[in-house]
């Protein structure tokens, strides 16, 4: 394994991400923060939602930001680079095994997902105003879940980026990303689905559920949530499946 090459590629991705920092942040964070403002500030201040709702919303918004930005950071450039222009070719010809390039993309995506997630906490906190109670008792669990969610989003990005073409990006958002956000337990805890038993179990295939519930459980343990151990187990399993699938697809797409 050639770490110098690996590190040079990370530097390249970092360089491109820094150059596009402002548009990338806007793309990843504007929508969740607007949602935070409307649901967490407008609706709670006007009394249409209870003030405690803020505590439910914050971890969910963080999960959405991490998942969306990880997917975007890996899938979007990959879709372009694998198209007709084959921009990725110069990195495929670099002295490193092909699958390490996929691993590098995942690491770069994880860093972006973690940055997005950590930026959301203070931003959303400011936007929500008073009444948010974050607990820092479970920092260890919080860190583990953050890393697993970041891995989930970027390996999901790899799998999606290698499976769809440029013309289907819109479809990816309406068919994959939008339902994932709506049924990802980001805007409500999983326990709120109790009155829809079928749906409650159907949403368990949605990885965002574990991201939201895991972050909720570690930041706001007083809100009912799926147990931390179950969340960690599910995230590890989903990470593994997406990673293996993504790496396999990547190999297929890059070597003819």
């Amino acid at each position: 394994m050639n770490w110098r090459t690996f590190y040079a590629m990370l530097q390249r991705d970092g360089h491109v991400a820094r150059r596009n920092l402002f548009p990338t942040l806007l793309q990843n964070l504007l929508q969740p923060l607007l949602l935070t403002f409307v649901f967490g500030r407008v609706l709670t201040s006007s009394g249409m939602l209870k003030a405690e709702y803020k505590n439910i919303l914050l971890p969910g918004i963080m999960a959405i930001s991490m998942v969306i930005s990880g997917i975007q950071a890996v899938a979007m450039p990959l879709i372009t680079e694998l198209q007709f222009t084959r921009e990725i070719e110069d990195r495929l010809l670099a002295p490193m095994e092909t699958h390490w390039l996929a691993v590098e993309k995942i690491v770069a995506g994880m860093i972006q997902a973690l940055v997005s997630g950590l930026v959301v906490i203070p931003a959303a906190w400011l936007m929500l105003g008073s009444g948010v109670h974050i607990s820092f008792q479970n920092l260890g669990l919080f860190a583990v879940i953050c890393v697993l969610v970041a891995l989930l989003s970027s390996s999901g990005g790899l799998a999606l980026g290698c499976s769809i073409g440029q013309t289907q990006i819109g479809l990816m958002f309406s068919l994959v990303v939008a339902p994932m956000m709506m049924f990802g337990c980001a805007y409500y805890p999983w326990s709120a689905l109790r009155s829809f038993p079928v749906l409650q179990y159907a949403v368990l295939i949605n990885p965002l559920v574990y991201a939201s519930e895991g972050l909720r459980g570690s930041l706001m343990p007083e809100i009912p949530h799926i147990p931390g151990l179950a969340v960690v187990g599910a995230l590890i399993a989903m990470d593994a499946v997406l990673l293996v699938f993504g790496l396999k697809k990547f190999q297929q797409k890059t070597v003819s």
Binding site: E87, I88, S163, K253, V255
Partner: protein
């Protein structure tokens, strides 16, 4: 100094369209998916290389010549780790390309058929990052990229994003990038397609200069003049097979007679072809379809009078005459029965 290349019994069968041509998988709601319900699903299979064996010596400029779809790019693809061979082996120096990929990648530089520059970067950054991928230090990278930008006349646009570059500039930058890590073997896949004559001459000069440093160059082309002037040795490929190989003069002298006179009559009675065969200096006469006849002979112009005479004697009318001097074009025609651009 210098490294050779060896290909043994190389075979490549594509069972799906190559990735760049493939439709995006995953979601496809088009008719392709609907058709897959049929049990007798049509199997996609294309034999791109059919047991090719080839040896390229260290320090030579070797040309792969053939029409589009002959298998030139697939050969390059296998040698540059981008296309997995179905059978056979490929060596760069002593290194088996498909066993020791990373080692092979360190030895080669590749200029692709279509520029595949990193559109997120500027010209200078493309070279700098390429150097970094190959483990060059910061100072070395900076010096080498400056040199190459200067050499390829790109200095004034060095800090602009390559998205706005013209086709010729992209091609020049692709070549500069391939030379950035000073590889022992340089592959150029159709490098002069779409270049203006001036840039083409610059390209040839650069290739020759690089070759003088003892580097091995492999170039694919369908331009006969390029192969003729640039290459020390050539292999002519068609339908995934090598149909001839040798130095350009050797290959040219292998054509019977050397000159090719392509004739077009309104009709070709058999007696006429027999008569043409009897003319002085004629070595071979081949009938093509629709009144075409190819005459291979030791001379060109002096035969025209007798040919016209023979045609008149047999009541055939001559519509068109084309005399081709001994060239790779006539060689290709001789071996395949087709012109390179057919």
């Amino acid at each position: 100094m210098g490294i050779g290349i060896r290909i043994e019994n190389l075979r490549k069968v594509y069972d799906s369209p190559p990735p760049s041509a493939a439709r995006g998988g995953g979601f496809s709601f088009g008719p392709a998916r609907a058709g897959s319900k049929d049990k007798g699903k049509k199997k996609f299979e294309v034999v791109a290389l059919d047991r090719i064996t080839l040896e390229i010596s260290a320090g030579e400029i070797f040309g792969l010549l053939g029409p589009n779809g002959a298998g030139k790019s697939t050969t390059i693809g296998v040698l540059t780790t981008r296309t997995r061979p179905t059978a056979g082996s490929a060596f760069i120096g002593e290194c088996d390309v498909w066993q020791e990929q990373v080692k092979a990648k360190l030895l080669i530089g590749v200029v692709p058929q279509r520029p595949n520059l990193d559109f997120a970067l500027t010209a200078r950054e493309i070279l700098l990052f390429h150097g970094a991928y190959f483990g060059q230090g910061a100072r070395q990278r900076a010096r080498r990229s400056d040199e190459l930008l200067e050499r390829f006349k790109l200095t004034d646009r060095a800090d602009q994003n390559v998205r706005g570059f013209s086709g010729g500039m992209m091609q020049r930058l692709s070549i500069a990038r391939a030379m950035m890590h000073d590889p022992q073997v340089l592959f150029l896949d159709e490098p002069s397609a779409g270049l203006d004559p001036q840039t083409r001459l610059l390209l040839w000069e650069i290739v020759r200069e690089y070759n003088r440093q003892g580097k091995t160059i492999v170039i694919t082309t369908h331009y006969m003049d390029e192969a003729d002037t640039l290459c020390d040795r050539l292999a002519i490929i068609d339908h995934g097979r090598i149909i001839a190989q040798g130095s350009p003069p050797e290959l040219k002298s292998s054509i019977p007679g050397g000159y090719l006179i392509r004739l077009k009559f309104d009709r070709v009675p058999e007696e006429l072809t027999a008569d043409l065969r009897q003319l002085p200096g004629v070595t071979e006469v081949r009938s093509a379809d629709a009144g075409g006849v190819d005459v291979y002979a030791g001379c060109g112009g002096p035969l025209i009078g007798p040919i016209v005479g023979a045609a008149q004697a047999r009541g055939a009318e001559l519509h068109d005459v084309h005399i081709a001097e001994p060239s790779l074009e006539t060689l290709f025609l001789h071996h395949t029965g087709r012109s390179l651009r057919d």
